[in-house]
C-alpha cells in the first residue's frame, strides 16, 4: 500500500482489477495528488502483496476482498473516502460500501461488471465454458512465465520511467491465487448488491469493452440509484492505461459537481 498527497486532502483509494496490480493507476492517481490524499494498494496475491496472507476460504467470495478494503480504510483513520475501483474492484467497492457506508463519500466504478456470465434476461458477455478457457490460457502462460518473467522485465530499456522495483513486481501474481481470483471474478454474481448501495456513484464505461459491454454499464447505472454514467470515447477494458487523461477528466468533472 502507498499513500501520497496532502494528509488533509479528501482521501482517494484506488483499487486495481483482475490481472494486474496498483501500477495500473500510475497515469491516473498522480493527477489527484495535489488535491487529495491518494492511496493505492495491491490485492492479496498480486504485485508486492504478501502471498502468505492468502486464505482460500476467505477469498472464495468477493466479500473477502471487500473486507480487506474496509480494513485498509479503517487503518488509514481518515474521513470518508472516494473509492475508485477498476473492473472487479468496482464490485469489491460496492460490497465494501454496502457493509460500511460510513467509510465512503463516492464510488467511482471503472468498467464494472456485476456478473460476467450470461443469465436469463441478462447478458454478462461470457459462458461458463469460456471462463474455463481463460483458466486454461492462464495456466499455459504460467509455464512460460516462470522462466521468462525476468527477461521480459529487463526488455524495456526504452521506458526508463519504470523503476526497477515496480517492473519487477508489476503484474506478477502467485499462479494459484491468480487462478482463484479469476474464478471468483468471473463466477460471482453481485447484481443484487447494486440496489443496496447508498453512496453516490459514478459509472465509467468504455465505448467498446469486451469484458464490460455497454449494456452492462447501463445495467449498473440503472440499478444504482442516483448514479451518473459516463461513456468514454476510449475503447478496451483498461482506460486507466489507454486513456488516462479522459478518465481523469471524467472523475474530476464528477467530483467537482458533487
Amino acid at each position: 500500500m502507498s499513500a501520497r498527497g496532502p494528509a488533509t486532502g479528501v482521501p482517494m483509494v484506488f483499487a486495481h482489477g483482475f490481472g494486474c496490480d496498483q501500477g495500473m493507476w500510475r497515469h491516473v492517481a498522480p493527477a489527484f495528488e495535489t488535491t487529495h490524499r491518494v492511496v493505492t494498494f495491491d490485492h492479496v496475491g498480486a504485485g508486492g502483496s504478501d502471498a502468505a496472507a492468502y486464505d482460500r476460504q476467505k477469498y472464495a467470495t468477493l466479500q473477502g476482498y471487500a473486507d480487506d478494503v474496509v480494513e485498509i480504510i479503517e487503518a488509514l483513520g481518515v474521513p470518508p473516502v472516494v473509492f475508485v475501483g477498476h473492473s472487479v474492484s468496482a464490485m469489491i467497492g460496492v460490497l465494501a460500501s454496502v457493509a460500511r457506508p460510513d467509510l465512503f463519500r463516492h464510488l467511482v466504478l471503472v468498467a464494472p461488471n456485476p456478473r460476467f456470465l450470461d443469465d436469463e434476461g441478462y447478458r454478462g458477455g461470457f459462458t461458463d465454458a469460456e471462463v474455463d478457457e481463460l483458466l486454461e490460457t492462464m495456466e499455459g502462460n504460467y509455464l512460460g512465465w516462470s522462466a521468462t518473467i525476468a527477461p521480459v522485465i529487463m526488455g524495456a530499456p526504452d521506458r526508463p520511467e519504470l523503476g526497477e522495483e515496480l517492473t519487477s513486481s508489476f503484474c506478477r501474481a502467485d499462479p494459484a491465487i491468480a487462478r482463484d481470483f479469476a474464478q471468483v471474478t468471473f463466477r460471482s454474481d453481485n447484481r443484487a448488491d447494486l440496489p443496496r448501495v447508498t453512496v453516490p456513484a459514478l459509472v465509467v464505461q468504455c465505448s467498446s469493452d469486451a469484458l464490460a459491454p455497454l449494456e452492462v454499464g447501463t445495467y449498473v447505472h440503472e440499478h444504482l440509484s442516483g448514479s451518473e454514467l459516463v461513456v468514454l470515447a476510449a475503447t478496451g477494458h483498461c482506460p486507466n492505461l489507454s486513456a488516462p487523461a479522459e478518465l481523469v477528466a471524467a472523475v474530476h468533472d464528477h467530483l467537482d459537481r458533487a
Binding site: 478457457e133 508489476f170 503484474c171 469486451a210
Partner: protein, 522 residues
C-alpha cells in the same frame, strides 16, 4: 522482393494495431489463420481474433502490460479461425501513443509438448504430495504405541493434508466397531458399514469416505472422513488405502503393547497392597501412573510390621519401564520384606542382606530404595517420642515435616544402589519423631520434570509441604498429586506417615487400626 511481398510472404502472422487496439494491417499468414476479411481490417479489435479465454487474458493482463512495459514476449494465446483454433506465441512492441506491432508464431507442436509437460508435472506433483502425506503419517505412527496415539495421528492427517473437514476413528472391539475419537465440526459421522469394509477406501453416496484399517489377521478399525474442504481436490483413495494399511499395523502393535502393559500393570498393582495402620501411626499411600498409559514403571511402596512390632516403610524404584521391571520390583520387594521380618536388624543391615541375596539369587537389576523403621524404646515411650531409623540406597531423600516447623529434606551422603555389589557398607541414620510429625517417602517422578532440574522440584515439594502441612494426611497426599498430575513424565509412588500422640486414642481422621490377623503384635 518488394516490401508488401516481404510482409505477406513472412512465415509468421504479422499485425499492426492502432493505439486504440483496432487492427490496422494484417499479413497473409494472419488472414489465413483467422479468416479476417480485408474489409474487416479497421473495424476489428485484436481481442476479437482470439479465443474468448485469450481475449479476457489479453484485455486484463497482456494489453496493460504492453502499455506499461512497451513489450511482450512469447505469450501463449489461441487465434480463432475457419480451420479451428491456432495456438500461437505472441511477441509485441509499442511506443507510448504509437501503433502496436505484433508477430505471431504458430506453436501447435510446442503447445502439445507443453501440455504434455504440464500434465507430467501435475502427475509428478501429485506423487510428491502423496509421498509427503505417507511420510508424515508413517513418521507419526512410528512414534506412537497406543491406540490413542494412532487415532490422533490419523485424525491429524485426515483433517490436514488429506483434506477432510471432519474425521472419526472407529476401533474394532468384540462387540463391533466403537467410536474412538473425532476431529472437526461434523456432528454425526455415520457409523461405518462393517460389511463393506473389506478392500480399500470406499466413497459413500453421502459424500463421506470409509477407510478400513486392516490388521494382520482382522479388521482393527475404520477411519471415516467427511465434508471435504470446498476447494480441495477429491480425496486420493490410493493414498488413503496406503495410510490405512500403515495404521492397521500400528493398531496391531498398539494392541500387543497394551496387552503387555496391562499384564505388567496387574503384576505391579498386586504388589502395591494397602499399608498397615498400626496403633497411633497413620499411613497413607498413593500411586499415580505417568501420562503415557502403556508405560509401566518399577516404582513401589510398602509398609509392614516386623515380628518385633516395629513398623517398616519402604519406597523404591527399579530401573526400566516394562514388564521385566515390574517382575524384578516384585522380587526385591519380597526379599526386603522377608529379610526385614525375620532378621529384625536395622535398615542398613537389611539392605546389605538384600544386596547379598540379589547377588546370590541372581536378581539381575538395580533399584533405588529407602527403608525406614519406626522404633520406640520403653524410655522413648515414657518421653512420648518415637525414633525413625533409615538407610538410603541412592533414592531421593525422605522429607521430615515437624508439627510446628519447616519441612526438611533428610539428605545424607549418597550410597550405592541396591543390587550394585554384594558387600556394600550401608549406613543407618536416625531422627526423633514427635507426635504430629509427618514423614514423606516418594519416588523421583514427583519432583523430576522435563525442562526443570531436581533441585527445582525438591524446592517445590518442600514449599508445598510447608504450606499444607496442617492438612489431614490423605488430603496432603491428594494435594501433591493434583498439582503434578497434568505434567507427569514418570510414575509416582508416595508413602506418608504421621505420628499421633499415644496419650490419646487414635484420632478418628486417621481411620481404624489395620494389622494382619495372625501377626504376633495383634
Amino acid at each position: 522482393m518488394s516490401t508488401p511481398d516481404r510482409w505477406d510472404a513472412a512465415p509468421c502472422g504479422l499485425l499492426v494495431l492502432d493505439p486504440d487496439g483496432t487492427v490496422a494491417a494484417a499479413n497473409d499468414q494472419l488472414t489465413t489463420w483467422t479468416g479476417l476479411a480485408g474489409d474487416a481490417v479497421g473495424r476489428t479489435r485484436f481481442g476479437d481474433l482470439l479465443s474468448v479465454g485469450g481475449r479476457i487474458y489479453w484485455e486484463t493482463h497482456l494489453a496493460p502490460r504492453l502499455q506499461l512495459e512497451g513489450r511482450l514476449d512469447e505469450v501463449t494465446v489461441e487465434l480463432r479461425g475457419p480451420q479451428g483454433r491456432v495456438p500461437v506465441l505472441l511477441t509485441a512492441v509499442t511506443d507510448p501513443g504509437g501503433p502496436v506491432r505484433i508477430a505471431l508464431h504458430g506453436a501447435a507442436e510446442r503447445m502439445r509438448f507443453e501440455r504434455e509437460l504440464r500434465s507430467a508435472r501435475q502427475a509428478a506433483q501429485q506423487w510428491a504430495d502423496r509421498v509427503a502425506v505417507l511420510q508424515t503419517v508413517t513418521a507419526g505412527l512410528s512414534r506412537v504405541s497406543t491406540a490413542d496415539g494412532v487415532a490422533q495421528v490419523l485424525l491429524a492427517a485426515a483433517t490436514g493434508p488429506l483434506g477432510a473437514t471432519s474425521a472419526a476413528v472407529w476401533t474394532a472391539t468384540a462387540d463391533g466397531l466403537r467410536l474412538h475419537s473425532v476431529r472437526g465440526d461434523h456432528p454425526t459421522l455415520p457409523t461405518p458399514d462393517v460389511v463393506g469394509t473389506g478392500e480399500g477406501a470406499v466413497s459413500a453416496a453421502d459424500g463421506t469416505v470409509q477407510v478400513p484399517l486392516p490388521g494382520a489377521e482382522d479388521l482393527r478399525g475404520v477411519l471415516t472422513l467427511a465434508h471435504l474442504a470446498a476447494p480441495t481436490p477429491e480425496l486420493d483413495l490410493p493414498v488413503l488405502t496406503a495410510v490405512a494399511q500403515q495404521a492397521g499395523i500400528a493398531l496391531d502393535r498398539a494392541r500387543l503393547h497394551e496387552q503387555s502393559a496391562g499384564v505388567a500393570r496387574v503384576l505391579q498393582r498386586s504388589m502395591l497392597t494397602a499399608p498397615v495402620q498400626p496403633d497411633h501411626l497413620e499411613l497413607a499411600t498413593r500411586y499415580l501412573p505417568a501420562a503415557e498409559d502403556a508405560v509401566v514403571g518399577g516404582d513401589w511402596y510398602d509398609a509392614f510390621l516386623c515380628q518385633d512390632g516395629t513398623t517398616w516403610l519402604v519406597v523404591g524404584d527399579v530401573a526400566g519401564h516394562d514388564i521385566g521391571a515390574a517382575a524384578v520390583m516384585g522380587q526385591i520387594r519380597n526379599l526386603l520384606r522377608g529379610i526385614a521380618y525375620t532378621q529384625q536388624q536395622s535398615p542398613a543391615r537389611v539392605l546389605t542382606a538384600v544386596d547379598q541375596a540379589m547377588a546370590g539369587l541372581g536378581v539381575p537389576s538395580l533399584a533405588t530404595v529407602v527403608a525406614l523403621r519406626v522404633e520406640q524404646t520403653p524410655d522413648d515411650r515414657a518421653a512420648g517420642v518415637r525414633r525413625v531409623r533409615w538407610s538410603n540406597a541412592g533414592h531421593p531423600a525422605p522429607v521430615h515435616i515437624p508439627r510446628h516447623g519447616t519441612p526438611a529434606s533428610l539428605t545424607t551422603p549418597p550410597e550405592l544402589l541396591l543390587g550394585a555389589f554384594p558387600d556394600v557398607e550401608r549406613t543407618d541414620h536416625e531422627l526423633d519423631l514427635h507426635p504430629g510429625d509427618t514423614m514423606l517417602l516418594y519416588t523421583d517422578g514427583l519432583t523430576e520434570r522435563r525442562h526443570s532440574d531436581l533441585d527445582t522440584g525438591t524446592r517445590w515439594l518442600l514449599d508445598t509441604l510447608g504450606r499444607h502441612s496442617a492438612e489431614r494426611l490423605e488430603d496432603l497426599c491428594d494435594h501433591l498429586l493434583r498439582t503434578v498430575a497434568d505434567h507427569l513424565d514418570d510414575d509416582v509412588a508416595l508413602l506418608a506417615l504421621r505420628a499421633h500422640t499415644e496419650d490419646a486414642p487414635r484420632p478418628a481422621e486417621a481411620g481404624p487400626v489395620r494389622l494382619p490377623e495372625d501377626h504376633p503384635a495383634t
